[in-house]
Amino acid sequence: MKSLYSSAALSASLLLTTAGFAAPPKDTISDGVVKIGVLTDMSGVYSTLGGKGTQVGVEMAVKDFGGKVLGKPIVVIGADHQNKADIASAKAREWFDNEKVDMITGLLNSGCALAVQKLGGDKKRITMNTGAASTELTNGAWTPYSIHYVYDTYALGKVTGQAVVQTGGKSWFFITADYAFGQSLEGNTSLFVKKLGGKVVGSVRHPLSSADFSSYLLQAQASGAQIIGLANAGGDTINAIKQAKEFGIGQKGQKLVGLLIFDTDIKSLGLNVAQGMQFTSGFYWDRDEATRAFAKRFFAIHKAMPTMDQAGAYSATMNYLKAIKAAGTDDPDAVMAKLKSMDISDFFAVHGKIRVDGRMVHDMYLMEVKKPSDSKGEWDLLKIVKTVSGDEAFMPLSESTCPAVKK
């Protein structure tokens, strides 16, 4: 039965391919090229978890797809937005207006992401966000051309928040990065903590990329909260966890919870410091055969295992190209319609789907950092404690304020 299905699928896809080759209608691909722009933090506090690695993911997808779609070449370009919204927006404008860029992906840093997504909406170009976290991207800032692919602050706050409160962490103090992302993450997590009967006793907001967290940590300690929630990311989270250890915070009574952590952060901290921490992720390289196979190929190029942003950029690009092929054009409206109706299934997502608000809904994972004695290799860092289905993890449409959601 199974082989019958697969051979049917094979012949169908062959038919499609030959049809595509036989009669490529003119002007199906605007400007005769599909150009994908990777705009992200290439040199700053988030560049290890995204950066060049995100571009590597995109380039791998293009290569695996065959380098051409509907007979036209696919080109990848990259740029550094330096975590500045004005630079991100100026670069995106240049790409849309002069460089014929059809789709922008990456877009770490919610401040930059919101700016570029708005521009994409104005210019009718697709943005597939794999890096940023703010839920605003699928709510107030939604555009008909925006997709939020990997994770968001709602899912992080819900999965981690629930896991912590259910194991007794009732009172929280937040150390929060002072911009759109940190505020969104703190807000979303607080909501779930309170819903489950916990309380938030205080918070402190720090500037992005701070070197010294000792003062904030002592304030958190003095608050007497059971849980110190880190609503920041990348280098900031690393410094906070490291310095907490130095001051002996989080060892007796109080517990440190990182709300957004990437594999590369754990690598940088070392298992000794990070062991036992729980957090939520949209991807882990060592989940199954398919993820391991991808990770191995990625490692050969980038010399590090892929984070969820980097793996997500591969998957987003691959599905974008599939949608162009299926639609028979790179017209943004047609491609978006295809993307929102197709099943997103690959090593990254299991039966993911892109909702009307642009949210790609897929399984999320509650992760735990391994003990040094359980780790069998340099990148054997985490184990999956629990798989949470996308419908459970992400914001339901009933709570959405996205203008496209009919109520």
Binding site: T48, L218, T264, S268
Partner: protein, 301 residues
């Protein structure tokens, strides 16, 4: 927010901890500016380089020499890093800065700024921007000390102590010894000092080497506290320049005292209104420049 004695004292300690880094770096800048009249923008990059000498010495040097068990330990790094970076400084001074001596000091600033970008760029290319952990902190300095009002990491106590010794030691040498008097005289009138048979060019070269050696020393001290990353210097140097401007360019004691004070001001801001902690020093700089343009300790020109 109610401020108990305990809160105030903890913030004083943390502020002092950041302050000693500002002090030691701005001291190096002051020494260099005093004698060479150069605004040494490469200072932050050399501070970062110092931290990397410690990190690589600990992780990589052994395997490189074919002896995987060998680690350049922390104490050795405290001496080796300033020497390595100091030697690099001597090279920079002899091959590049020396040629610019006749020109306006804007040229020195541009040259050192360019060097900083190059060094940082090379390191960004090869190393993890979000930082690597330095694991060489000696056992004796780990753990915490009970200060009565707070538990303070033993390592940070050491950092504060040794930095104060180095800062005031440098001040003493320059302001109170014969060697220091040559240095100061060389600043005022190099021709006359030369006439007394003192090798002024050599003195200038060594001073530059010493100044950047201080930056490397601070880098090693910082390695176990912060992540060692290619951008650690550029983040630090902007604040340190503000400290130098507030204290008064070229004033030794001014740079030490201002560094310590501003570290504490910044510490308090983190308790009162944390989002302003990144800007408070610049706010003070603006006020000082308006009221006392030569800086708190500077001589009116």
């Amino acid at each position: 927010m109610g401020m108990s004695f305990q809160t105030v004292m903890s913030q004083v300690m943390l502020g002092l901890n950041n302050g000693v880094f500002y002090a030691i770096l701005s001291l190096g800048l002051a020494v260099i500016f005093g004698l060479l009249n150069i605004v040494n923008f490469v200072h932050g990059a050399l501070y970062m380089l110092g931290a990397y000498v410690a990190l690589l010495g600990f992780n990589q040097l052994g395997p490189l020499l074919g002896r995987p068990d060998f680690h350049l330990n922390y104490w050795a790094a405290l001496i080796v890093a300033p020497l390595v970076v100091g030697a690099l400084g001597v090279l920079i001074e002899k091959t590049m800065l020396r040629r610019l001596r006749k020109f306006d000091h804007l040229y020195g600033l541009l040259l050192t700024f360019g060097l900083a970008l190059i060094i940082q760029g090379v390191f960004t290319n090869y190393f993890n921007v979000s930082g690597d952990a330095y694991d060489g902190k000696p056992e004796v300095l780990s753990g915490v000390v009970d200060l009565g009002f707070m538990l303070f990491p033993r390592y940070r106590v050491w950092v504060i102590g040794i930095s104060l010794v180095v800062c005031f030691g440098t001040w003493f040498v320059i302001e109170r010894t014969k060697l220091g008097s040559y240095l100061r005289a060389g600043t005022e009138n190099p021709e006359l000092v030369k006439a007394f048979g003192i090798n002024v060019p050599l003195m200038i070269t060594l001073t530059y080497g010493f100044g950047v050696g201080l930056a490397a020393f601070a880098g090693v001290l910082a390695a176990p506290i912060y992540s060692v990353s290619p951008v650690m210097g550029s983040e630090m140097i902007i604040t340190v320049f503000a400290v130098v401007v507030i204290g008064g360019m070229g004033s030794i004691m001014g740079s030490i005292v201002t560094g310590l004070l501003l570290g504490m001001v910044e510490g308090f801001t983190k308790v009162v209104y944390a989002p302003a902690s990144g800007t408070v020093i610049f706010l003070i700089m603006v006020i000082v420049l308006l009221v006392k343009p030569a800086g708190l300790f500077g001589k009116e020109a």
